[in-house]
Amino acid sequence: MDEYKVTSRSEQDTIAVAENLEAEKFPGMVICLNGELGCGKTVFTKGFAAALGIEDTITSPTFNIIKEYLNGEMPLYHMDVYRLEKKIESTGLLDYFDKGGVVIIEWANLIEDYLPEERLDIFFKVVEEDIRVMKFVPHGQKYEELCEDAL
């Protein structure tokens, strides 16, 4: 399995990567964001949502666990599963994988056993205050092609 690495030196860099991935979107797309607090997960989602044509301000889903944005080119489901950890079975969140939109999950590594087999994992690593290395791990043919095209 190929891995891709991109260095982000600013929020704009992170947003540009999100825009490139958005350009290759398809219904049922699942993007998993992993990395510590403040590494840019919500910034990435803001960039992706803006590219989707969503006009609402994308705010943190931490408190609500899920926020839905239905007024873009495709529905966007933005989740933060930090507070769920392993108690995902009975939450109804898994239904969102089949709703025909794009699902972006923050702290997805905490629910790894429940994620779809085919998906894109992104790992953010804070190197210095403004510098992050984003590692992309595609799972499945579709996501491998996506990474080849977009990154």
Binding site: L37, G38, T42, R83
Partner: protein
């Protein structure tokens, strides 16, 4: 005019709360069942568990409320229920219960915005004199609202990333205090000194807030101190953090109070229980001669009384819902 008794039903998150309020001002009885103990085990509110728990207990809570008030459903004028924003499964339980009661007892149904409820919690403690500015601060919201009449909400600004409640909880995670971080940080901040320098976020002319930047600044600070082998003085960091949050909230809110030349300032939402925020607003408003209304601590958290209080004004304006009322988890003011 005949007295109006509104039954308020609130189930948007982890509290099932039912209340009867007379004429939008006088709380007769409130019965609340909180799930905090259940959710503590999971480190936060779990949507489906919340929803199931609401479904199991809502009829019991309604019965309890009526019997404590020594009233029957026949004595109720109308039924007000939160239909958003909140967790879908939890909202659904309240809305369906309200519809069933409305249909069975032939009482008007009123769908209430949860955020309007938080604002109208203040109507239970004081009068709302228009025009006014309301600062709504909670786990899910951080907004400055202008009102020139009942139920007329103009959003002047809001957070562009984390809510103030999320900022408290996330900083709590960074310095390793138990969930929810807000009350713990508030307590620790009283024992510390403001010694850490944190940036004032979005220090501009807008009414928008950004708390993600403070969160990052705290993370960087903790990280740098660790690398230097210095121990973090938790109490001091809590004081510094709370002070910068208070500063950004007061600065923007007071600017709105002046620009819109309002009669009073309301503070609403769960985070309005924070003592640092209350004290500083009181100090500034006393000094500037502005009327400040903050909810009683028991009205800061979610409760049926605030929904019934807001519901009264929907009733007065004839804003009724029919049985097609649907939940709206992302409802805005």
């Amino acid at each position: 005019m005949k007295d109006v008794y509104i039954l308020g039903i609130e189930s948007s998150c982890d509290e099932t709360s039912i209340s009867i309020v007379k004429n939008g001002k006088e709380e007769i009885v409130t019965t609340t069942l909180t799930q905090i103990d259940i959710h503590k085990k999971f480190g936060g509110v779990v949507p489906e568990i919340a929803s199931r728990s609401h479904a199991e207990c809502i009829t019991i809570v309604i019965d309890d409320c009526l019997s404590k008030a020594n009233m029957k459903m026949e004595d109720i004028t109308a039924i007000a229920v939160t239909y958003g924003p909140g967790l879908a499964g939890s909202l659904l339980v309240g809305v369906e219960a309200a519809k069933a009661l409305s249909l069975a007892y032939n009482k008007p149904l009123i769908g209430v915005n949860h955020m309007a409820g938080h604002i109208y919690a203040n109507n239970l403690v004081d009068t709302m004199d228009f025009p006014l500015i309301c600062l709504v601060i909670s786990g899910g919201h951080t907004e400055i609202i202008y009102m020139d009449d009942d139920l007329s909400f103009k959003k002047l600004g809001s957070t562009i990333d984390d809510s103030v409640g999320e900022a408290f909880d996330k900083v709590g995670r960074v310095i390793d205090v138990p969930y929810p971080g807000g009350p713990v940080i508030d307590k620790l901040s009283k024992e510390g000194k403001d010694t850490y320098e944190l940036p004032l976020p979005m220090d501009d002319d807008s009414y928008n807030f950004s708390f993600s930047g403070i969160k990052s600044a705290v993370i960087n600070l903790v990280h740098n101190e660790k690398q230097r082998g210095n121990e973090i003085r938790k109490e001091d960091l809590c004081t510094s953090f709370e002070n910068i949050v208070v500063k950004t909230l007061t600065k923007k809110t007071m600017k709105a109070v002046k620009e819109y030349n309002v009669k009073e300032l309301l503070i609403a939402g769960g985070v309005s229980a924070n003592s640092g925020i209350r004290e500083e607003f009181k100090k500034i408003c006393d000094k500037e001669g502005i009327k400040l209304v903050v909810p009683k601590l028991s009205y800061c958290t979610d409760n049926g009384a605030m929904i019934a209080a807001a519901g009264y004004y929907y009733y007065k304006k004839g804003l009724f819902s029919d049985y097609s009322l649907r939940i709206n988890p992302g409802l805005d003011l």
